[in-house]
Subunit: 118 residues, 2 copies
DNA sequence: TGAACACATGAACATACGTTCATATATTAA
DNA sequence: TTAATATATGAACGTATGTTCATGTGTTCA
């Protein structure tokens, strides 16, 4: 049992700890990954993503589809756009949103198979 | 332009809206998917998952690895266990945690390739 | 039996987050 | 130019969430 340098935690398995320390991904990419998952971790945003995965849509259609106020949808689209998950295209006063990523579909597909099995 | 039955939202594209309504996944699996992503959406939990993906570990080793208090780790492990993402095995007074799912690795792998490219 | 240890857990606290409300911006049509 | 429309956005509000602190539970060892 060895005291850690930075906190009071006791270390029982020095060998595995050393190995995991070496093989662990850096903190930054892990942080970015969890930031990505955080965006997915709201059902409104997930529903928007599922919808945009089927068709390019404008804000008021999304609002009607999800039965939510235009403001709420717009706020969430802003977050999705900041995360570079959706892109927008303005035509007149209508703004069309669509998915801006190739991995989203794959990640969601895996997640769906996860929650639907067992 | 047609007024929606349940909210004041204006519908511009009736045809795509109808098609998306038909092809959209049900609300419940989408909700479950976003609940799963919500669990992944915290960097502490993501780091725990990355660690357990490399080795079965006890609480105090995780605590030392992530330089966090035993209590904080324990609380997060509770959440991961409730989500059936990790399982625990008690040996004496030491509790060993390991991943309890085959999809986690794939989902994280996809997410990593997403954040590391571009 | 009691001390030490590994872990769990409830309460408290600060912070983050999603929606609502009011309003601003930009475009079209009269 | 004015009214209507589609969207964006800031402030406010309630709620959810992660960590800390204190303490509880269960196990080992002297």
């Amino acid at each position: 049992m060895i005291e850690n340098e930075f906190c009071e935690a006791t270390v029982i398995h020095e060998d595995t700890l050393r190995r995991v320390r070496e093989e662990m991904p850096d903190e930054e990419p892990i942080y970015e990954v969890s930031e990505l998952f955080k965006v997915f971790g709201d059902s409104t945003r997930s529903r928007i993503i599922c919808a945009l995965n089927l068709a390019e849509m404008c804000v008021c259609d999304l609002s009607a589809l999800l039965n939510m106020t235009q403001s709420a949808i717009s706020h969430q689209l802003r977050i999705l756009k900041a995360a570079r998950l959706v892109k927008s295209k303005k035509q007149g006063r209508v703004v069309y949103y669509s998915l801006d990523d190739s991995h989203i579909g794959q990640i969601f597909a895996l997640a769906f198979t996860h929650v639907t099995e067992e």
